[in-house]
């Protein structure tokens, strides 16, 4: 898709700009300007025209168009190449298909709507159009395999910091990959690895964030457990998804390269400090067995230590964690 960043900048100064000026400054013909304006209107931009004065951008659509995301984006790697879809099976799925074409590191897949959004191992992820943030980043981390799962934590930390910075409320991390705000799940992370044994080629970092949904947008059975940033924080206005995404890409880039360079100490410290899990009674299920205990520690290797009823301690490295207890929702 063609980029419209330049013409939008010219239209968004707050003052009318004539078609002739636009043509000169963009170095294109007036016919080409007219064509671009037409396309922008079709894409949802509100552009007013006034005879004798020219054109003025009045409103931008709530869309994750690549030129909106990259506007003022100062990352070196994350999101420097973007694929954007109105509707797609899932961004992770598309990223997987893209691997055959040797994508550059930091390639970002975005979608307004997912028709087959996936949670862990193919579970469905609720996905209404335009209200959530669905993204997958393609990364090539130079790490030994046993360090790779900690990148899930890095993404969770980056997202928690992003929301704290943008919306002034800090979500807690439910080990290892979900974010909770005021007791409700607002985000999930699904990381996938692809590559031959012992030689990692690509890591797909899929992040879904509930941004602007209304409570009634969620199926009734999860309404108590999940929410959107907007509904939980009681915002009148829609929250800008492109703003959130930009901030996330910048913070993630810092966190990711810091972890690759210096290790995961800071990541783990954050996960411990802002944990929705530690100190709580939890149930961990691996699909067949369920283990109950109190979450007491997130270890250096990223695993979760539980203290079971007998007082014995055991480490958990995989499986689904549910918070059990008086004031928390269960598994979401």
């Amino acid at each position: 898709m063609q980029g419209f960043g330049e013409i939008l900048d010219l239209l968004a100064t707050g003052e009318y700009v004539s078609g002739e000026d636009l043509a000169t400054r963009l170095g294109i013909t007036r016919a080409a300007v007219w064509k671009q304006l037409k396309t922008l209107r079709e894409l949802g931009y509100e552009i007013v025209a006034s005879s004798g004065k020219g054109y003025l951008l009045q409103a931008r659509p709530d869309r994750l168009y690549p030129w909106e995301v990259t506007k003022n984006l100062h990352t070196k790697v994350m999101g420097r190449h973007i694929e954007y879809y109105d509707r797609i099976s899932s961004t992770n799925q598309r990223a997987k298909e893209l691997l055959a074409e040797s994508p550059v590191e930091g390639t970002l897949i975005l979608a307004e709507e997912q028709t087959a959004g996936r949670g862990r191992l193919g579970r469905n992820w609720f996905s209404p159009p335009g209200s959530a943030l669905y993204s997958t980043l393609i990364l090539k981390p130079q790490l030994p395999p046993y360090d790779l799962p900690k990148l899930t934590l890095v993404a969770a930390v980056a997202l928690s910091k992003t929301i704290a910075r943008e919306l002034h409320e800090r979500p807690l991390i439910k080990w290892p990959n979900d974010l909770y705000l005021q007791g409700k799940k607002i985000s999930g992370i699904l990381t996938e690895l692809s590559g031959e044994l012992g030689r990692v080629e690509f890591l797909l970092l899929g992040v879904g964030v509930n941004v602007n949904q209304h409570p009634e947008d969620f199926p009734e059975e999860i309404r108590e457990k999940a929410g959107s940033l907007r509904s939980i924080l009681g915002k009148e206005e829609k929250i800008s998804r492109s703003g959130l995404l930009r901030s996330y890409l910048q913070i993630l880039e810092d966190e990711y390269f810091k972890a690759l360079r210096k290790g995961f100490a800071e990541t783990l410290a954050y996960c411990r400090q802002y944990s929705a899990t530690l100190g709580r009674q939890v149930e961990v299920s691996d699909g067949e067995r369920v283990l109950r205990g109190k979450a007491v520690m997130i270890e250096e290797d990223g695993s979760l230590t539980l203290e079971v009823e007998s007082g014995a301690r055991t480490r958990v490295f995989s499986g689904d964690v549910s918070l059990v207890g008086p004031d928390r929702p269960g598994k979401t």
Binding site: R118, R120, L121, G122, R123, P144, P145, Y146, L148, P149, K150, L151, T152, L153, P176, N177, I189, L190, T191, E192, L193, S194, G195, E196, L197, G198, V284, D286, G287, E288, R289, L291, D301, G302, S303, A312, T314, R315, V316, F317, S318, G319
Partner: protein, 167 residues
Amino acid sequence: MKVKEIKELIKILAETDITELKLERYGTKVEIKKGRPEFAIAPVTTVNNLPSAPQVQMAPAAPQPMPPLGAEQAPDPSPEEDMELPPNQVMIVAPMVGTFYRAPSPGADPFVEVNQVIEPGEVLCIIEAMKLMNEIESDTRGRVIKILVENGQPVEYGQPMFILEKV
């Protein structure tokens, strides 16, 4: 030279500090070396404590394998670990700790079945650790002759998962 004589030579060698012995007699050449790693730094070896073969180190910096879900003590190493494979067979081991899944999602068909011939790059299984889904691909063309782990079971670092027969 008789086998018995060679055996005796080996025995003698083992009881001394000599690490290498070459002998030539009646056109027969015998060369005996103690099985010590070539680059052993500490040569403090006693007769009863000779390493039989150089240790295979898969990843020098690997941390201790972590117990899987609910394991309160490290499980006994599975018997397959010591299994010696014929040269035409390949063992696929877990590159990380996690939960082993044979199918992309619950209820879906497994990635591979026994007897199936797989190509390099084909996915054999998924190992999940901390919500990281690790698709394990084969690096060899081969026939699956054994699947050593059950779906949904925890795997340790380095644990054998599949045996392939090269085709």
